[in-house]
């Protein structure tokens, strides 16, 4: 069986400056996989290339073994079952919580089915139910992150791309977000996460890569990566 997502020898440049330099990664169905890296290592660029928001210079990105995402446009890629929790949430702040969720299910034309799906999610996130008619821009950071995750789940994706979901959140909210990610994975949704918060993300993920200046320098099961000296030094503040 072909993996859910397979990136081969991906190169991305901003003008002439290389951002991603020959990255090859595979995400099998059912796993949480993690890309660790410092600011500017190229993590978000990989996510944007998968989504079709950033053109690649060369390489291929295959979804379910058949679709070459580099030939598709962002809205077509989403229709294959790929959803996004963007860095910094990027909610539509001038839309209400409910409208944000409806936009998350934009591709669902059946209004009744969309409403059922949103109701299910609001049961899982009762706080969002209370605030459904509030503008998304008026919520706290933690609540916004919940909206961003719920918005990505409305379309029942196969693969969830999470770009720095812990960024700017209080530690107890980060714990919630990671627990929720595990729950999402248990529902059968595969996750590709990009993070700087290595300590907690490594506990969650099945597999991790370390990205430095656009190249994968370390790759392996999360437990092994956590023990790697370079990861210890850079992300975990030395040997525990």
């Amino acid at each position: 069986m072909s993996p859910l997502l397979e990136i081969s020898d991906l190169h991305v440049r901003y003008n002439a400056v290389p951002a991603v330099n020959g990255v090859s990664i595979v995400i099998p169905a059912g796993e949480i996989r993690l890309i660790l890296g410092a600011n500017g290592a190229g993590k978000s660029t990989i996510i944007k290339a998968i989504l079709g928001l950033q053109p690649a210079a060369s390489g291929s990105i295959r979804f379910c073994g058949e679709h070459d995402l580099l030939r598709l446009r962002p809205h077509q890629i989403h229709q294959l079952g790929i959803a996004w929790v963007p860095e910094g949430r990027q909610l539509w702040g001038t839309l209400t919580v409910l409208e944000n969720l409806r936009m998350g299910g934009f591709i669902e034309r059946d209004a009744a089915r969309l409403q059922r799906r949103i109701d299910e999610l609001l049961q899982r996130f009762p706080r969002l139910g209370e605030r459904r008619n509030q503008l998304a821009g008026s919520l706290s950071g933690g609540e916004q992150q919940m909206v961003a995750i719920a918005r990505a789940l409305v379309s029942s994706p196969k693969l969830l791309l999470m770009d720095e979901p812990s960024l700017g959140l209080a530690p107890f909210v980060v714990r919630d977000v990671f627990a929720l990610t595990r729950e999402i994975n248990a529902m059968g949704i595969s996750v590709l996460m990009v993070e700087q918060n290595a300590r907690q993300a490594l506990k969650l993920a099945h597999w991790a890569w370390l990205l430095e200046t656009g190249r994968i320098v370390v790759s392996g099961p999360s437990a092994e990566i956590a023990a790697t000296e370079s990861v210890q030094e850079v992300f975990l503040g030395g040997r525990a």
């Binding site: 989504l51 079709g52 928001l53 446009r73 962002p74 809205h75 890629i77 989403h78 229709q79 959803a83 996004w84 963007p86 990027q90 539509w92 702040g93 001038t94 839309l95 409208e99 409806r102 936009m103 998350g104 934009f106 591709i107 034309r109 918005r151 379309s155």
Partner: protein
């Protein structure tokens, strides 16, 4: 007091047409990030296709309105496909200059075809005057006002309550995120331009009926005002654009009534510029670009 009420009413009627043109202009700017200086000439083209429909199809107001809406819509569609879309993603000045070029070509082209002077527009509805207390309103003014309000109501309903309207606002705020959630940005952009054009087409025919003429340079006045109204209101809420456009009409009418009609534009623009000094991103806020 009667003069005041009369001029407020006249101003609201003039302002309602400004509002239709300005809302279309700001919808296009907000969704496509294009300052479409050809928008007023879409209005002008609608005026002439409405005239053609009235002269050659049937001298019926509904036929003229449909003719105006279709003509303006088609002109908008062609403009989007041939001029705006190829230049999207480039500097905002590129589309500004390109649409300005189209505007000049459309105005002068129409002047060559139909003459540089206003053409009489058939009297499709009567001239009855209604009296409310001491205030008067003509049948044509009433039609103009009612049609403008209906068009504004439609625009508001579309962006607030429909699936595509929601996508329109989503693109306005975060185009990349909208695309990543399955919105075909090209399709929504095209629909936005065509809708804004058709709205302008309806307004142009009702203005032509009100003043009894169609003119190749009729768009000029509305173009500059729409642009300034959008800047003053900010483009975050279309309802804000409507409110400022109505306010502009009222200020103009009051200046005309109490001072002089030749001062009305000067005073109105002075007030608008004064607002921009105090609130550079507009009275009701703007989307970051």
């Amino acid at each position: 007091m009667i003069l005041f009420l009369q001029q407020v009413l006249n101003g609201l009627i003039i302002g309602s047409t400004y509002a239709v043109v300005a809302v279309g202009f700001s919808m296009v700017f907000t969704v496509l990030r294009v300052i479409n200086f050809a928008h007023p000439d879409i209005f002008m083209v609608g005026m002439f296709t409405g005239l053609a429909a009235a002269l050659h199809v049937s001298d019926n107001i509904v036929v003229a309105l449909i003719g105006g809406a279709i003509g303006a819509g088609l002109f908008g569609l062609v403009l989007e496909r041939l001029v705006i879309r190829p230049l999207r993603g480039r500097d905002v000045l590129m589309t500004l200059i390109a649409t300005l070029g189209v505007a000049i070509m459309a105005e002068n082209g129409m002047a060559v075809l139909k003459g540089p002077d206003p053409l009489p527009f058939p009297a499709l509805i009567g001239l009855t005057q209604f009296h409310l207390g001491g205030v008067q309103i003509g049948e044509r003014q009433l039609l103009n006002f009612a049609l403008s309000l209906a068009v504004l109501g439609f625009a508001s309903w579309y962006v607030r309550s429909t699936r595509f309207g929601r996508a329109t606002r989503a693109i306005a705020e975060r185009p990349d995120v909208a695309a990543a959630f399955g919105v075909n940005v090209d399709v929504i952009s095209q629909i936005t331009v065509v809708l804004a054009s058709m709205m302008a087409g309806v307004a142009s025919v009702s203005v032509a009926v009100l003043y009894g003429n169609a003119w190749a340079f009729a768009g000029l006045l509305y173009g500059l005002k729409s642009f300034v109204v959008m800047l003053v209101a900010g483009n975050r809420y279309f309802e804000g654009v409507m409110a400022v456009a109505l306010g502009l009409g009222v200020v103009e009418a009051l200046v005309t009534g109490y001072l002089s009609s030749s001062l009305s534009d000067a005073v109105a623009f002075f007030l608008l510029i004064a607002v921009l000094f105090v609130r550079p991103s507009g009275l009701f806020g703007s989307y970051g670009s």
